[in-house]
């Protein structure tokens, strides 16, 4: 019995780890390759989650919906809408210093949260959406559904990883790194800096939308208070920094490492006496904040440092 409990704990750990890996890969496109600071990860994550939930739930009188589309279409819809939101932010801010993009992305996340809380015709407000379906739900019953979903999440992680590696190795990715490292010389060789940055930001945001959508399908219920937006944004940043920004495998490794640390410490702190158990979550937050400082100062390249792809020559 103890062993099955442990097994399902590992399953849920890996599902959320996979979702964080997707967010981390997305941030790696924006920050690792493009050098763009996005402080509103939670906003794009939320757009994705709500879009996919609304597209796939059965009809309800409490919120917009009743499309009942299959989950993969929900994921695509989530990516499109989150990408559009990202495009709007990027269009306005990419030509300015990256600090402005940071401010604007946090602002858009805040506005999106307001819309989700206030527009109850769309999202049922703070009561949230329920009965969100899971993909491949009729394959199994009961708790084995989690295992199937685990497979689904990591299948998506694999797809995103392959896409991100392709982007990383492609001429597009090379131009992007050139822009990140030396904007003036990249512009001098004829690269349209603004266009590249907007593309980067949109791609990253679309992937974040997919991550959000997967979390909606995992929890089957969605409400504005379910997750602390700042915590999501922050954890993803720490994951990417620790894993190695610029390296896709580093992003996945960082996501799994930090998420495991974060969850496993929760087991220990939950055994503390109640007056300490509530405080312990703040201690964890404090430690993660300090961890970021240490990584920034001492291990800026992370667990798996960035590697330029090898130059391949066509055979004659």
């Amino acid at each position: 019995m103890e062993l099955t409990g442990l097994f399902f704990y590992a399953v849920s750990l890996l599902i959320l780890g996979g979702i964080y890996a997707i967010l981390c890969l997305a941030l790696n496109v924006q920050w690792g390759m493009g050098g763009l600071f996005n402080a509103g990860i939670a906003g794009f994550y939320g757009v994705g989650a709500y879009t996919s939930a609304i597209l796939t739930t059965p009809a309800s009188s409490k919120h917009l919906g009743g499309f009942g589309l299959p989950v993969p279409l929900g994921l695509i819809g989530a990516a499109i809408l989150a990408g559009l939101a990202g495009w709007a932010v990027a269009k306005i801010c990419v030509r300015l210093k990256s600090d402005y993009l940071a401010m604007a992305s946090i602002g858009i996340a805040e506005i999106l949260r307001l819309v989700i809380v206030n527009e109850s015709w769309l999202t049922n407000g703070s009561l949230g959406l329920s009965r969100i379906p899971r993909p491949l739900a009729d394959l199994t019953t009961g708790r084995m559904g989690d295992v199937v979903f685990l497979g689904f999440v990591w299948f998506v992680v694999l797809l995103v990883y392959l896409a991100a590696s392709r982007l990383h190795d492609s001429p597009w990715g090379r131009s992007l790194r050139a822009i990140r490292d030396n904007e003036a010389s990249a512009a001098a060789t004829g690269k349209d800096v603004e266009k590249f940055r907007i593309q980067t930001f949109v791609i990253g945001c679309a992937i974040m939308g997919i991550g959000g959508a997967l979390s909606a399908h995992y929890f089957r219920f969605l409400s504005p208070t379910a997750t602390d937006p700042l915590l999501v944004t922050f954890l993803v940043w720490v994951m990417l920094m620790a894993g190695g920004s610029g390296n896709n495998r580093g992003a996945i490794l960082g996501a799994l490492t930090i998420w495991t640390l974060w969850s496993v410490t929760e087991i220990f702190t939950n055994r503390l006496p109640p007056e300490w158990a509530t405080r312990s979550s703040f201690i964890r937050m404090l430690l993660v904040g300090l961890l970021l400082q240490v990584v920034l100062q001492r291990f800026r390249s992370g667990l798996l440092p960035e590697k330029s792809p090898p130059v391949k020559f066509r055979k004659e």
């Binding site: 600071f37 506005i111 206030n118 300090l290 400082q293």
Partner: protein
């Protein structure tokens, strides 16, 4: 008309002065140290809790205890700068932005750890408003906020234009390399930037808390409008940031006045979005701010 002044104009001016005090710090840090300080809101929260902790011991008007909050924010800001921001100074400033993002969380978890995360208030009960000219009923707190902000604005202007330190601060904001080669003490300028920014943050935080209540998200929720105010006034222009703060405060509060018909122009639940929309508009059409600040 009287309703407009009592319920919209004066609260708006009070909120504007809170934003103004916070935005001055953000604008000066952005101008001199060249990064958007994401931990400024949580620095405000920390100062407010410092005042709250003293208020539990010394039962006087909390406004008199603000110096304790100021001491706390100055010490924390200088320590954070020394141990977390300074080592990153040689790198692109975006690393400092990331670091300050983390420091915001550190500040907040310290506040929650020490003082808990529940809502707290300085006093309970309702204070009767002050009646001016037999018609206007104004909350004493709002009046105090506006007057104190005006005094600070005058002092700050004097400091920046007359004293040697203040003038070197403006020089560094204009051109750091030129200031350094002309022999200005950059380290001192940075120290003073933090001292001023942190003091005003503690004052702004205390007013914000007296206006509503004390909670760990107090400062973070004010961060967005303060950034908007700093951009509006032009980065590196403290007086511009002051004006920007009042403009944002007025715009936010007055947007929910029933200008047309009987309904609020913009639903009050979207009040915080007003600042953001203004900021977006500025970034598109006039990113250097209203008063010709620098575009970094």
């Amino acid at each position: 008309m009287i309703e407009f002044v009592n319920f919209y104009l004066f609260p708006a001016l009070a909120i504007g002065s809170i934003y103004a005090l916070g935005a001055v710090g953000i604008s000066m840090i952005f101008g001199i140290l060249r990064f958007a300080h994401f931990a400024h809101g949580d620095l405000m929260t920390l100062g407010t809790y410092g005042v709250l902790a003293m208020a539990a011991i010394v039962p006087v008007n909390p406004l008199l205890l603000i110096p304790f909050g100021i001491a706390l924010t100055i010490v924390s800001a200088l320590l954070v700068d020394r141990y977390f921001y300074k080592p990153l100074r040689e790198l692109p400033t975006i690393y400092t932005v990331i670091s300050s993002f983390g420091i915001a969380l550190v500040f907040r978890s310290i506040v929650q750890l020490v003082w808990g995360s529940q809502n707290q208030v300085f006093f309970t009960g309702v204070k009767p408003p002050m009646v001016l000219f037999d018609t206007f009923r104004v909350s004493v707190l709002h009046l105090q906020a506006v007057i104190l902000t005006a005094i600070i604005a005058v002092l700050l202007h004097y400091f920046l234009t007359v004293t040697r330190t203040g003038r070197s601060m403006r020089a560094v904001a204009d051109d750091p390399e030129l200031a350094e080669v002309s022999g200005l003490d950059t380290a001192k300028v940075i120290r003073w930037t933090w001292i001023i920014g942190a003091s005003l943050a503690a004052i702004a935080g205390t007013f914000a808390a007296l206006n509503t209540s004390v909670h760990p998200n107090l400062g973070w929720n004010l961060l967005m409008p303060m950034f908007a105010a700093a951009i509006l006034g032009g980065i590196g222009k403290p007086m511009g940031a002051m004006a920007g703060g009042f403009i944002i405060g007025l715009a936010e509060e007055l947007s929910s006045y029933h200008w047309i018909g009987d309904d609020a122009l913009i639903s009050p639940s979207y009040k915080t979005a007003v600042a953001f929309v203004l900021m977006i508009g500025l970034l598109i059409f006039r990113p250097q701010g209203l008063f010709k600040g620098r575009l970094l």
